[in-house]
């Protein structure tokens, strides 16, 4: 067999065994099916993911071999959801692990198939899909994956897109602003769904250990702080030094407005913290270092921002008091 077909073959074999094991109600056949599926999943890391598109090929072998494997894994996972029998080995059940294998397959294909700068965007889109899947299917496992992926996005965004970018290529730096802005926008798109999920999990609390450890009851915090961290850090590192305070000030106001809009205390405090950081930076650094023009612009803009925030706090005093 061709090296890239082995994983697909193993996955199909695993699926057939799984169906037979379910049909005949034979646990050992299903266990063999899980082994074949695990082998198929592992195999893609040893050949399929490095099988780049050759000249003349229209579809990447990574996509046409790894995606069907993920599809098989999700199909098996879906079958296991309807299976109410006891777990396969003692208290252990392969259900969630198979769903993790499927998602890792997709995330790995995106890692190898997307250009290095845009991996975070692809992963952010996958995280959004996982949040939508959680909402639509009411399956906590996808929310766990979405949260873990958002941690990966922040890690890669900071390490690769912010600190790992080229030292010289100017379009790369501006490019990274664009890439991280799109990533943040995609992650923020998940916010409305995460608020709905919070309501759902208030009524039906999460019981799994991993779910509690990842704070799945409050995923709106993950999907707010991940983009907020990326934007704050990229401004600090890549922005023209004379514009950092101004940019943080604008970010702070936007965050406070968002906090008031969705009635989130943590968001408002983050916005206030950013404004406080700006005031501290102005007093300690900018007042002495900035050019005259930029100093005036920064002072006026930040003064305006602080006045706006004070006005908002006075206008929505009752709302703010209720949230405290």
């Amino acid at each position: 067999m061709q090296p890239i077909s082995v994983a697909v073959g193993l996955a199909v074999f695993g699926l057939v065994l799984f169906e037979l094991g379910t049909w005949w109600q034979q646990k050992q056949i299903r266990l063999q099916a899980y082994t074949a599926l695990t082998a198929a999943f592992a195999r893609i890391f040893f050949v399929n993911l490095t099988a780049a598109t050759l000249p003349g090929e229209t579809l990447s072998p990574r996509i046409y071999t790894a995606v069907p494997i993920a599809l098989i894994l999700f199909f098996v996972w879906a079958q296991l959801q309807s299976d109410k029998s006891t777990p396969e080995i003692g208290r252990w059940s392969p259900r969630d692990l198979i769903a993790y294998f499927g998602t890792v397959c997709i995330a790995a294909v995106l890692y190898f198939e997307t250009s290095v700068e845009w991996i975070v965007v692809a992963w952010a889109a996958l995280a959004l899909l996982l949040v939508i899947a959680t909402w639509a299917l009411d399956k906590e496992v996808f929310l766990q994956q979405a949260v873990l992926l958002s941690v990966g996005i922040v890690g890669r965004g900071i390490a690769h897109n912010i600190f790992g970018g080229s030292y010289f290529s100017s379009d790369g730096w501006r490019g990274n602003f664009a890439v991280l802005s799109i990533t943040s926008a995609i992650l923020l798109t998940a916010l409305p769904i995460t608020f709905r999920l919070r309501k759902r999990y208030t009524e039906h609390p999460i019981e799994s250990f991993l779910g509690c450890a990842l704070g799945l009851k409050r995923t709106e915090q993950w999907f707010f702080f991940a983009p907020a961290a990326l934007i704050t850090i990229i401004i600090a590192v890549k922005m023209n030094p004379e514009m950092v305070t101004l940019s943080w000030g604008i970010e702070g106001v936007v965050v406070i407005l968002l906090g008031l809009l969705v009635s989130q205390r943590s968001y408002r405090i983050t916005g206030l913290f950013l404004l406080l950081l700006c005031v501290g930076k102005i007093v300690c650094l900018d007042a002495w270092r900035l050019s005259d023009t930029n100093r005036y612009i920064t002072f006026i803009a930040l003064g305006g921002s602080l006045t706006l925030v004070s006005w908002l706090y006075s206008k929505y005093r009752e709302t703010v008091r209720r949230l405290l």
Binding site: V8, L15, F46, T50, T53, Y64, R156, F168
Partner: protein, 297 residues
């Protein structure tokens, strides 16, 4: 019914994928490169931030590079008139390309007269080495310009000096003591860089070679030739046991040699040519001239 339909759809998709994979005319090697690439890229990303805050000066980098180069050159056998002339030619081509580097260092180019050395590498501070074996594979000056540009960009973009910083940290060497840094084995420089850094060197190397007046087709033909060489030399295991041994061996070597696949490099080269609208010029053939004198007067 729903289950049966789902099963049929999944089997059809998987069957189609299997058919496509089986009928593709590919020669993929089984190895741990995917895992190794990811590990190397993450390692590079994680170390990049501290590198920026602890960067050594260009003067210190040049001192370290000079010491490493001196040590390496002195270990090489004496040059023949032919190698000397070829080295002079490499220096001329490299000099034309180096003018377009962003960091204005004293770039120097060396030829290693070993016909089995199919490699080129760069040392921090501006020294670029190329093996006779690799030179023998080339058919045009433009290919040489691309290879030298690629190595030069490893220096220009701080890849080489970052390796010094990492090695010094790992071996607890003092960056201020040049002789201590010169103890770093030469294999560290010959090993190549992370996939991301190799792509960057390819991209920028092609750009500076083109800016020096060389045809971008040199990069295309050179990358194609590297791909052909890889296909010829990579061993394809015939059995599962063979695959396992290959994975183990390639994994160990691959950690240090995480070069991207030639097909991916070729795709990037073509993308840069199209994106930058690089002018297509005819390839320039090699022209090395030298005289051998008997020494009698």
């Amino acid at each position: 019914m729903k289950h049966a339909t789902g099963l049929v759809v999944v089997l059809l998709v998987a069957g189609g994928a299997f058919y496509l994979a089986q009928h593709s005319k590919r020669h993929d090697a089984v190895n741990a490169n995917a895992v190794v690439d990811m590990a190397a890229d993450w390692q590079r990303d994680v170390t990049r931030a501290p590198m920026q805050f602890t960067r050594i000066s260009d003067e210190q980098e040049t001192q370290i590079g000079d010491e490493l180069a001196r040590k390496y050159v002195s270990a090489q056998p004496a040059q023949t008139p032919e190698t000397r002339a070829t080295e002079q030619y490499v220096k001329e081509v490299g000099g034309r390309v180096a003018v377009h580097a962003k960091r204005k260092l004293n770039y120097r180019f060396h030829l290693i007269g070993d016909a089995n050395l199919l490699n080129a590498f760069a040392l921090p501070g501006g020294h670029v080495f190329i093996g006779q074996g690799l030179l023998d594979q080339m058919t045009s000056e433009d290919e040489l310009a691309f290879v030298l540009g690629h190595e030069l960009e490893h220096i220009d973009h701080y890849h080489a000096v970052e390796r010094v910083q990492i090695e010094a940290k790992l071996k607890s060497l003092d960056l201020d003591i040049v002789t201590a840094i010169a103890e770093i084995p030469m294999s560290s420089w010959q090993a190549g860089y992370s996939k991301d850094q190799e792509f960057e060197a390819d991209r920028e190397g092609l750009r500076i070679a083109a800016a020096a007046g060389y045809s971008p087709q040199g990069a295309v033909t050179m990358t194609e030739r590297l791909g052909k060489l890889q296909r010829e030399y990579v061993i394809h295991a015939e059995t599962p046991t063979g695959e396992l041994s290959q994975v183990a061996i390639d994994g160990l070597i691959g950690y240090f040699r995480s070069h991207p696949l030639p097909s991916e490099r070729l795709a990037q080269v073509n993308a840069v040519i199209a994106q930058d609208h690089l002018q297509n010029r005819p390839l320039t053939h090699f022209h090395i001239e030298y005289e051998v004198t008997s020494g009698e007067r």
